[in-house]
């Protein structure tokens, strides 16, 4: 019997809290509660060996391994369908396993803006959250300390929402190419500022400072980029039990309480984990899927779905970008993260235009080492090609909000099943005209910047070439009204007294800021509410 097979995956007796999902939300909830309560975390994916990270980096660089392969994704376990107007590459957008998608994320951690919580009132589009920025503000600060954020938003970003204290670490210094962009932006009256990174600019929490591997997305061998294994390990040190390769098949329940999480294990057995409270933290796709798979006579349309909204309002952020070349060196691809952005246009959002932000890339154009592994040349000929291809690229990216719409949803595909015979998720993704219009607006600004820079523009990712930023949101939305949402303002399901959802799936609107800091803040807030009610 291998060591992996000998892991005890049996249920924990007398558990207070069962968390489903060991990504950032589940890990933070578990860590927060583990010292004083019996906590069990169940995750569908494996526990990855930290010693394998260099080998995963090699997969990331080599052309033969696609993105899902870096973290062993894909296959029957991760099967899904796409029935929507827009294709969604789900397995490029997630990692299953202890640490979840933070294992492959870029690691950008901005707070949502105040108006993001009141989109209906302030922008005339979407709906208001049942909580305000002020409600989440202390949790944002706490989440920044937990994750370890290097940033200077309180110092150099006049467009950032109010904050009392600096980020835990100083921001990364601007790049050389940032200095080129700065001249162009100054000419155009566009303000640049630092960006908050979930990446250590100095040693933090016994994790090293960034050493510049340049493969942040999809793997940081140094662990300088935060991932949720940090809080999984802390939770385990406090006594939590974390069970890997334990996909939850359904949540057993009565009319107003979840009673057990039924999970499968690699030995072919099925187990029931009972607990006083349950926190579902499986992300924006698997969370609604699990609720839909847990239907019953009491909940014929899916658990916690009296509103009928489980799975609806699936959103992501849309990418808008443009890039080109200069006639001078731009020093790209030394690091895998960006150091400057502009939120200047974010709060201009209204009914016609969505909020969006700009990102000034430090990794425009090809990476020479990746380029070297393709092509039919070698020796001097290859070196000539690399020298011709590398060195003068620039690019500006950006994220754009998409509006929540019921016709964009996550459902179940009745005709296709996963490795346990459960219907796979069906992604039915579509994008609204306001988002597409805003991508064009972002492109106008991006073109102007590149032209002011003197760049020859080579590509524009506009409405026809946009894609998702891999931020799944909106599928179990938060609302004070039980008919309008799945969870209440505390992220507790309206239908079930002892079931919370900690995930971007509760976002009523998405804003245009990367969602993980908000996920973390909400998770800490969920933990406090669970604690109060235990």
């Amino acid at each position: 019997m291998s060591a992996e097979d000998s892991v005890d995956r049996s249920p924990v007796p007398d558990a207070d809290v069962c968390v489903v999902g060991a990504g950032p939300a589940g890990a933070l909830v578990a860590d927060r509660l583990a010292a004083d309560h019996e906590v069990v975390v169940l995750d569908a994916g494996p526990r990855f060996d930290p010693a394998d990270r260099l080998a995963r980096q090699e997969r990331a660089i080599r052309p033969s391994d696609d993105r899902p392969a870096v973290w062993d994704g894909g296959g029957e376990r991760d099967a899904h369908e796409n029935s929507g107007e827009w294709f969604y590459p789900l397995n490029h957008a997630r990692v299953k396993g202890i640490g979840g998608s933070t294992l492959h994320w870029q690691g950008m951690v901005m707070r949502l803006h105040e108006d993001d919580f009141n989109s209906g009132t302030e922008r005339g589009v979407g709906l208001d959250w049942p909580i305000d920025y002020a409600d989440l503000r202390p949790y944002y600060a706490e989440a920044e300390r937990e994750i370890g954020v290097a940033g200077g938003s309180g110092v150099d970003n006049p467009y950032a929402p109010p904050r009392e204290e600096p980020h835990p670490m100083p921001p990364f210094e601007p790049s050389y190419s940032d200095s080129l962009f700065a001249e162009a932006c100054e000419e155009l009256g566009i303000d640049m500022h630092s960006v908050p990174n979930a990446r250590n600019s100095e040693r933090y929490d016994d994790r090293s400072a960034c050493v510049g591997y340049g493969t942040c997305q999809p793997v940081c061998p140094a662990r300088a980029k935060y991932d949720a294994t940090v809080h999984v390990e802390r939770a385990e040190e406090k006594g939590a039990t974390v069970v890997d390769r334990a996909p939850v098949q359904r949540l057993e329940h009565d009319a107003d309480r979840v009673t057990a999480a039924v999970y499968a294990t690699p030995d072919g057995e099925e187990h029931r984990q009972e607990a006083e409270s349950f926190v579902v933290a499986c992300g924006g796709v698997e969370t609604p899927r699990l609720l839909l798979l847990s239907d019953s006579e009491a909940y014929p349309d899916g658990l916690a779905n009296s509103s009928g909204h489980v799975g609806e309002f699936f959103m992501d952020h849309l990418f808008a970008g443009a890039g080109g070349v200069l006639d001078e060196p731009t020093r790209q691809n030394h690091v895998g993260f960006y150091t400057s952005g502009s939120d200047q246009f974010y709060d201009d959002a209204d009914e016609e235009f969505a909020p969006f932000k700009l990102e000034f890339f430090n990794y425009a154009g090809p990476s020479p080492v990746e380029l070297a592994l393709t092509g039919d040349d070698w020796g001097d000929e290859l070196l000539d090609r690399l020298r011709d291809s590398y060195g003068t690229h620039v690019a500006v990216g950006g994220l754009v909000e998409q509006r929540p719409r019921s016709e964009s949803y996550i459902g179940l595909d009745p005709d296709r099943t996963d490795d346990y015979g459960n219907p796979v998720p069906d992604i039915h993704w579509s994008v609204d005209d306001r988002a597409l219009r805003t991508i064009e607006r972002a492109n106008e600004i991006q073109r102007a910047i590149l032209e002011a820079l003197g760049a020859e523009i080579e590509w524009v990712a506009g409405p026809d070439a946009t894609g998702p930023a891999y931020h799944h949101m909106g599928t179990t939305r938060m609302s004070a009204d039980p008919d309008a949402g799945v969870v209440d303002a505390d992220c507790r399901t309206h239908d079930l007294d002892n079931c919370w959802i900690a995930s971007s799936s509760v976002f009523p609107t998405g804003g245009a800021m990367n969602p993980t800091l908000t996920i973390a803040a909400l998770a800490l807030r969920v933990a406090d509410d669970v604690e109060r009610r235990l």
């Binding site: 394998d52 050389y176 591997y213 070297a372 592994l373 039919d376």
Partner: protein, 190 residues
């Protein structure tokens, strides 16, 4: 430009000196690279006793490096030796490398009358192209061409261009895969 001991150490730091997940995880998944579904393995596959020893692998890889590395580099032999000293472990990946070298040497014997290390540089170049390693896409479990591309040609190119000297050849002191710190991205061109 000279490849140094530091470059070999850096290449190993970037790629790992142990086999790690390599093939094992992929095989456990039964994914697209499942060898059970693969008809492309060479003669030596699955028979560890017939795989070439470290010295043979080093000689063959050094001979190939002379072809696939740019002429302006010096110190290639010791760079390859040091790099392989870390890579030739008991892993599946190392076994794949040995097997690909064995297959390439077999092809050299059949087509040119000698293993790759005994051929002239022009014959080595010709052998690699005859094997199809120039146009093949790398695949660790694929055809001869794909395996030679993965385990031999790209193994060497990855080691070089993820090292500081390989990066500097292109104008990038801290190439992807090399933990070269967070200073160079801020510096302007020299």
């Amino acid at each position: 430009m000279e490849l140094t001991r530091r470059d070999a150490a850096a290449a190993l730091a970037a790629l790992g000196a142990t086999g790690g997940i390599g093939l094992a995880a992929r095989r456990a998944n039964g994914g697209a690279n499942d060898p059970d579904e693969d008809a492309g393995n060479g003669d030596a596959a699955g028979n560890e006793e017939s795989l070439p020893d470290d010295e043979t692998v080093r000689a063959s890889m050094t001979a190939v490096a002379a072809v696939v590395y740019p002429d302006e580099l010096t110190g290639v032999d010791s760079f390859v030796d040091r790099f392989l000293a870390g890579r030739l472990d008991g892993s599946n990946r190392a076994a794949g490398l040995r097997e690909a070298v064995a297959a390439l040497d077999d092809a050299g014997r059949s087509w040119h009358g000698a293993p790759v290390a005994k051929l002239s540089e022009s014959d080595r170049d010709e052998l690699l192209r005859e094997a199809g390693a120039d146009t093949a896409e790398e695949d660790r479990d694929g055809t001869l061409a794909e395996r030679v591309r993965y385990h031999v040609v790209n193994e060497l190119l990855l080691a070089l261009y993820a090292s500081p000297t390989g990066g500097e050849l292109v104008g990038l002191e801290n190439p992807q895969g090399h933990p070269g710190g967070t200073e160079s991205y801020r510096r302007g061109p020299s």
